[in-house]
């Protein structure tokens, strides 16, 4: 099968083109560096199927980061049949810099002028024919987003792949042309493949090339001694770059006709950036946008209209019967988005899903099981164990999707890249560059791809620090814990707003991450903060297709997880709570004699300083079980509560139905735990904080192990997660329970800070 590689600058639309050609749904983001590894798919509309390889974005073929090396090595070593060089037509000159390097390889090349729709929209035009003549390879105008010109591109690439192409360079007429020619002849004599490319790189003093061609190096060095440029002196890398740009601006710039000759005129993106990336307003605007997202997802009083206008509740309107239930189906639907306050879109979708779909469906299934005539234990296993466990997790699908839709909009619009830029100033003080923020933001979705994305960080110490704090950015799997506990606090204690609590916990995660980075970068992971250079993408309207693809993937994966890992876990938890150590079957009310209770009670005292240990009495072990189950998959925390709700109710004599608590709903499952154990609000908040910052799920731990490489660093990372979660949860619990302990913690932190400063000063003194 023929292989075509997609190569181009970061954020020029390679993955969008890859998705369009292969029908894949690979993650696309409007910021540079989304793709960090190569991936492949098949295009079937040519004369024969063609394998398409999507390479990470690169600015040049002189690699600095691992993903740049992947792209370069693939083209050189794997020898694709054709390289499709994607050029962002809105940034023609800069993108052609890479093109001039790809052309130096002995490989068929086709240039795809992407984003031509945006060029035309702005009134500019590009003479593709003229560009094709000057480059000497086919040039095709395309729009990967609108899927125009793709057939022509692939047909041309297919035709080119049948030809043999020898590399050509734009440096031929430059002062270095003679030197490059000599080195090329020498390499050709040694039967080196791609001699022109290697010759240019050798002249450029490329480190990898210097190690590869040690025999040719003395000849190159000899010649260099006789060469001295007035401006760049002996800096050959700069000389080559300068020669390329000079050639590009004198030969290729003329193919672009700009509508407006005024280059100082600000674009819409520039105008928006004046506000959104403002030195002082940038971060507050980001926090307001973040809060807006949480309010639209979790807010039960949209824009606080209910409070402002004192809107009447359904009861005040006489729409509920004596039992507090809706008088008819119409009112039931009304109750999903209004009850004394207009609910946010997230809550409305959540209510429709839980009250009218999941609740009804599992209620109906439960009824069937009840009537099946099975033994009570079997009914308990299916209804209280399996159904409650799965439905409690599924009940969080709407908030997860709504939240991720908003995050995807921010990412696709180009705003996320700006956040990295505005946070760079702040992060830099703590020892990280703004570049590290992009994987952290990805951590809001899932820690696994986020940890992989840290490959874009060139500095190892910065990378280790980033991998360690990524789990503090609450991922989608942790959202059920946050939502359920926050919702239960509001419902049970009648305090606060669920959106404010959830938002605060996200902010707490970010604050803990910053504090930990500061600590690591001043102690064990000390080092220079690398410079941060990132191209800010143009703002554009999010693509509906991309959004739907993101949400569909999220839904698919979440449902799959619910019916595999979560289902298996609920069965195991149910079994362990219904058998004693001598394998006697136990009734629900005997749960304290179970295997699970026995083991968890041993560990329970450890969690006492965190508010969910021994102080919760004989049933407090359920929180320990939830924490441990969460290590498999974080959704398990709430599934565990739902599975154990019936047992706890049996022990304490609670009537869940009478309390309007339904374990099928995750929030209600937590309420049952509160009712049974008497856990306090600080204890619950500490429980969230612990789960947010402790060792992530198995998949994330395995990824951290693979990405960190070093075993000792990995072991320290596990210890770091345990220690940080314990300390954070202890701080939350103690300050929440006894406010004056804030001063004790402050003194403790001041002591640690003073010790670190003293230690660093002494170390600096020794060095001097």
């Amino acid at each position: 099968m023929k292989r075509f590689a997609l190569a181009g600058n970061p954020n020029c639309g390679k993955t969008t083109l890859f998705n369009s050609l292969t029908g894949s749904t690979a993650h696309v983001g409007n910021w540079p560096g989304v793709t960090v590894d190569k991936r492949d798919g098949v295009y079937k509309k040519c004369a024969e199927p063609v394998k398409i390889i999507d390479l990470p974005g690169i600015y040049s073929l002189s690699p600095y980061t691992p993903e740049e090396l992947i792209a370069r090595n693939y083209i050189l070593d794997e020898k694709p049949d054709c390289v499709i060089n994607i050029v962002d037509a809105t940034n023609l000159e800069r993108n052609l810099y890479l093109t001039t390097q790809i052309l130096e390889m002995d490989v068929p090349v086709v240039v795809a002028l992407n984003m031509m729709d945006a060029v035309k929209k702005s009134g500019d035009s590009i003479n593709a024919k003229l560009l094709e003549e000057r480059l000497g390879v086919p040039v095709v105008e395309i729009s990967a987003l609108k899927e125009t010109g793709l057939k022509e591109l692939m047909d041309k690439a297919f035709n080119e792949s049948k030809k043999i192409r020898e590399g050509s360079t734009v440096l031929e007429t430059s002062p270095l042309g003679h030197l490059i020619g000599d080195v090329k002849i020498a390499l050709k004599g040694q039967n080196v493949a791609n001699p022109l490319f290697h010759a240019v790189k050798l002249v450029e003093q490329d480190e990898i090339e210097a190690n590869m061609h040690k025999e040719t190096l003395p000849m190159v060095e000899e010649f260099k001694k006789t060469f001295n440029d007035e401006i760049f002196g002996g800096d050959f890398e700069a000389l080559v770059a300068d020669a390329r740009y000079k050639y590009i601006s004198s030969n290729f710039a003329s193919v672009l006709s700009k509508k407006s000759k005024d280059t100082t005129k600000m674009s819409k993106s520039d105008k928006a950036d004046k506000v959104l990336t403002h030195k002082w307003w940038g971060i507050p605007i980001f926090l307001v946008i973040l809060f807006g997202i949480f309010h639209l997802t979790f807010g039960e009083d949209l824009l606080f209209l209910g409070k402002i206008f004192s809107l009447p509740s359904l009861e005040d309107l006489g729409l509920l019967n004596e039992d507090g239930e809706a008088i008819n189906f119409g009112v039931r639907i009304l109750a999903t988005f209004y009850d004394g306050a207009v609910m946010s879109p997230g809550v409305w979708i959540n209510n429709v899903w839980n009250d009218l779909i999941v609740g009804e469906f599992f209620g109906w299934l439960g009824g069937l099981v009840e009537e099946s005539g099975m033994a009570p234990w079997a009914i308990g296993l299916i209804n209280n164990g399996i159904f409650d466990g799965i439905s409690s997790v599924l009940s969080f699908l709407p908030p997860i999707l709504v939240l991720f839709m908003f995050f995807s909009i921010l990412e696709d619009s180009g705003y996320m890249a700006r956040i990295a830029f505005i946070l760079d100033r702040m992060f830099r003080r703590f020892g990280l560059s703004g570049r590290a923020f992009m994987p952290m933001i990805m951590g809001f979705g899932c820690s696994v791809p986020a940890m992989i994305n840290t490959r874009t960080l060139a500095d190892d110490k910065e990378r280790t620090a980033t991998v360690r704090v990524i789990p503090f950015f609450s991922c989608g799997a942790k959202l059920p814990i946050l939502t359920a506990v926050a919702g239960a606090i509001v419902a049970f204690f009648g305090v606060g707003n669920a959106d404010v609590i959830t938002f605060s916990m996200y902010v707490l995660g970010i604050v803990v991450a910053i504090a930990c980075v500061l600590l690591m970068r001043s102690t064990t992971l000390k080092g220079e903060t690398p410079p941060f250079i990132m191209e800010l993408p143009t703002y554009h309207l999010p693509q509906f297709k991309n959004l739907m693809a993101h949400l569909w993937d999220k839904t698919k994966h979440f449902v799959k997880k619910a019916f595999t890992i979560i289902l298996a876990s609920t069965i195991v938890i149910w079994a362990l709570t219904h058998f004693s150590f001598n394998w006697t079957f136990l009734e629900d009310e005997q749960v304290n004699e179970s295997i699970l209770a026995g083991i968890a009670q041993l560990v329970q005292p450890i969690f006492t300083p965190l508010g969910f240990g021994s102080q919760l009495g004989e049933l407090g072990w359920v929180f320990v079980v939830a924490v441990v189950a969460g290590l498999i998959a974080k959704e398990n925390v709430i599934a565990t509560f739902a599975t154990l709700a019936a047992c706890l109710a049996a022990v304490t004599g609670l009537d869940l139905g009478e309390l309007a608590i339904d374990a099928e709903d995750g929030i209600d499952a937590v309420q049952a735990m509160i009712q049974a154990t008497g856990i306090t609000i600080p204890g619950l908040i500490a429980f969230i904080a612990f789960n947010m910052t402790t060792i992530p799920c198995f998949a994330a731990v395995a990824t951290a192990k693979a990405e960190l490489g070093n075993k000792s660093t990995y072991n320290w990372t596990l210890l770091f997660w345990l220690a940080s979660s314990y300390v954070v949860a202890a701080i939350v619990y103690t300050i929440g329970s006894w406010w004056w302990t804030l001063f004790i913690w402050m003194v403790a932190f001041a002591g640690v800070a003073a010790f670190i400063i003293y230690r660093n000063k002494m170390a600096a003194k020794r060095l001097n």
């Binding site: 190569k38 979705g445 696994v448 993937d553 698919k556």
Partner: protein, 53 residues
């Protein structure tokens, strides 16, 4: 114990063993189990390695 209960026990055991076995096999094959739904670069690289093998 009736037939339904026996079927239930067998089904539950099959689910638990199946999930554990599948995750072991996945791990042996070098595949990841992240929240990306299998579309992240890491998963793609794992698949590519697998095909190569």
């Amino acid at each position: 114990m009736g037939a339904l209960e026996i079927i239930l026990i067998i089904a539950c055991a099959a689910i638990v063993i199946g999930v554990v076995a599948a995750s072991i096999v996945k791990k042996k094959q070098g595949k990841c189990a992240c929240d990306c739904g299998g579309d992240c670069a890491h998963c793609a690289a794992c698949r590519a390695k697998q095909i190569k093998k």
